[in-house]
């Protein structure tokens, strides 16, 4: 851990900038090499472009015990973390979660689960899940729990954009950023062999594949929920939905992908070298992945055990963890997706203006 991560990152970037051997690995280096000196915003942008693939660390001739003691993935992880904390809205929340991630994630899930347990006292109204908790009650709870994090993220991203001197966004910037995220281009290693995350200097695509399972699994689940909402309101077709329905066709594979992906990411993170991650939030990051695993696992379990006596308890746990997940989105590892996208948009602008 560094006393002043931004200043330390500046020192290291200066060394990288006079070496440049890692230029081909990812977007961080071309973005770094256009500078002669680094503002705090420049360093913030580099940190959010870094995917912690660690290829540069293993290739580096200046890592400890060399006196230059370079550890770019490590120092950028700390800068990145601080940049999310400093731009979070409301600010106090970010810090609290990152310092105590595991606890907060677990407590939130349990607390919310209990809250729903209490919802038994409210009258049910409908079939399946709605017999337990009426649709209107769900909406009343989840709509604000969904909208507030979006608002908080929007404010955070606006602050980020100002800090990294973002320019007015063009459509091309956004398509470039989404194109990069869609394939996790920056985890392909530049040469297409992947990254050296879990087994010293051996390249693999494990992290890239697992991350995409999580990302696409999550998007499928989200799409399943959205499609259910549309069916409910536009077509007057409330849940439950059968196996051969749009929500299930999206949600089942999504849930399975999310389960495998999150379990894999936890294993991978445990295998990874701690000193190349931000130790202050490593526990919190495990907590977040675990929460996402619980969301997906209980979601699948709900489908499997929908006709049993366990439905009520499962529904409480599932919806409780979903609620915690939504509420914590701006203050958990989940935020990284949004900040990374912003960094990629900014990087597309950089490439546009230097080409």
């Amino acid at each position: 851990m560094y006393a002043d991560p931004v200043e330390e990152a500046r020192r290291q970037a200066q060394i990288c900038n006079s070496c440049r051997y890692c230029e081909g690995y990812c977007a961080v280096f071309p973005s770094m090499h256009i500078h002669r000196s680094f503002s705090e915003g420049d360093i913030t942008q580099l940190a959010n472009l870094c995917h912690n693939c660690q290829n540069c660390y293993d290739a580096c001739q200046y890592t400890a015990p060399h006196e230059f003691a370079l550890n770019l993935p490590g120092v950028l992880a700390e800068v990145r973390q601080e940049s999310w904390e400093q731009t979070a809205f409301p600010a106090a929340m970010g810090k609290a979660f990152h310092r105590n991630g595991t606890l907060i994630a677990l407590f939130s899930a349990l607390g919310m689960g209990l809250l729903f347990w209490a919802a038994r006292r409210l009258p049910g109204g409908g079939e399946g899940f709605y017999a337990v908790l009426a649709h209107n009650a769900m909406v009343a709870i989840f709509l604000p729990a969904f909208l507030f994090p979006l608002l908080a993220l929007a404010i955070g991203l606006k602050r980020y954009w100002k800090r990294v001197d973002g320019m007015p966004v063009r459509l091309g910037d956004i398509t470039a950023a989404f194109g990069s995220a869609a394939t996790m281009r920056n985890l392909a290693g530049g040469h297409g062999d992947g990254c050296t995350y879990e087994d010293d200097d051996r390249f693999s695509h494990k992290r890239r594949v697992l991350h995409q399972l999580v990302m696409y699994g999550f998007l499928l689940c989200f799409a399943a929920t959205a499609s259910g909402t549309i069916l409910h309101y536009a077509f007057a077709m409330p849940a439950p939905y059968g196996l051969f329905s749009i929500p299930k066709a999206l949600g089942l594979p999504g849930g399975i992908m999310l389960c495998i992906g999150t379990a894999g990411m936890m294993w991978l993170k445990a295998e990874g070298r701690p000193h190349l991650q931000d130790l202050r939030v490593r526990g919190g990051e495990f907590g977040f992945i675990l929460l996402l695993f619980i969301v997906s696992f209980t979601g699948l379990a709900l489908y499997l055990f929908r006709d049993t006596a366990g439905l009520e308890a499962l529904l409480a746990i599932h919806l409780g963890s979903v609620l915690a997940f939504f509420l914590l989105t701006p203050y958990s590892k989940m935020a990284h997706g949004f900040y990374r996208l912003a960094a990629l948009v900014r990087d597309a602008q950089r490439r546009r203006s230097t080409s």
Binding site: S18, E23, G24, H33, A59
Partner: protein, 464 residues
Amino acid sequence: MTQPTEHYDIVIVGGGNAALCAAMTAAEDGAKVLILEAAPKDYRGGNSRHTRNFRCMHDGPLSVLVDSYDEQEYFSDLIKVTDGKTDEGLARMVIRASQECLPWMEAHGVRFQPSLSGTLSLARTNAFFMGGGKALVNAYYRTAAALGVDVLYEAPVRHLQLQGNRIERVDYEYEGVAYSAEPRAVIVASGGFQADLDWLADAWGPPARNFLIRGTPYNRGTVLKNLLDQGVTSIGDPTQCHAVAIDGRAPKFDGGIVTRLDCVPFSVVVNRRGERFYDEGEDVWPKRYAIWGRLVAQQPDQVAYAIVDSRAIPLFMPSVFPAIQADTLEELAEKMDLPPEAVTQTIASYNAACGDTSAFHPTERDGVHTSGIEPAKTNWARPISEPPFYGYSLRTGVTFTYLGLKVDENAQCQTDAGPVENLWAAGETMAGSILGQGYLAGYGMTIGTVFGRIAGREAANYVR
């Protein structure tokens, strides 16, 4: 776990590019190979870990290389820098073999990237390793391990016993214990002797103790000396080393690429007394940095000081250590521990000698020169007049030494009595067989790859 007592067909002394190319080639030919690397694992790979590319002939676009680069052009580039002191036969053989090295390297795990920003001039001639030389070394160690090559780190070789025309025994240390091995063949790929400051001072004189060593502290030439003492034929001028002017604040060893300073052509360079001593603008920096290693070595305390003004800063690659900065030349001189009066005097007369600067052009010789001062500055001569002013100290940084083992086209070593039948050499330790002086960027890795593969093949053939 590698056991020091196991039997091996081939022992390879050294753990850099040439050693690994030899090891992989021999292992693929069926030989049981042990690498004895003097450095700990973190510092394995000798000077290869500091390299960034290799120079490669190609008839047409090849991997990241654009256009073509034929044998004749390659050879004439080489001759220009060595001033003709080149073994033409071996040099051409290396050049021709370089083309098929590139796919071989890729097949053994090396990945290439387009030439780095700031190195456009090499995009056609030099294939850059993705991540640099340490990434190449890592990939080769992985591949070698998969081929069954064993490696001992922190295992310095102390003695090779030459008996008649054979190496009979290899004495080395490992974890503080002395071992002897009796392999059927030995390949020496342990670099030059530049990290042995005593030897350097013997060869060059006491000022050599003030030189900085750009690469590994483990190239002490122990095995080279041991073999030469036993009558193995040497090649190369024992008093010569390849030295360049680098940032004076660089670490004593292992500073590598980042300690280079490209500011000299846009500077006034003075010595400790505040006097100029050579034409800073003689030619573009890639053609002059080696000469400046020597020039700085001849100054008092082997140190010099480059001074530029604010206009020059964007014209060269950023330096690893920030420049010393001041608003006046007096203040800058004081900060750099130079006599302020002499410095201001030198720069005042230089400034007065500058003429029309309208043709100033940073990337080519522009003929913007001084008149009436000695030494003249013949290009890029703009007054040092726009504050803030910036200063860098310059010292001599040694890259490699020329003295080595003489080999034939099969990488085989020899004595006056003829070839040593089971001893081969590859890499920097035999590069003097090809390069008599000077250096061509990326050619060292080409020699190491070509001769490493030859040595591996020949040794495997011999033990079969």
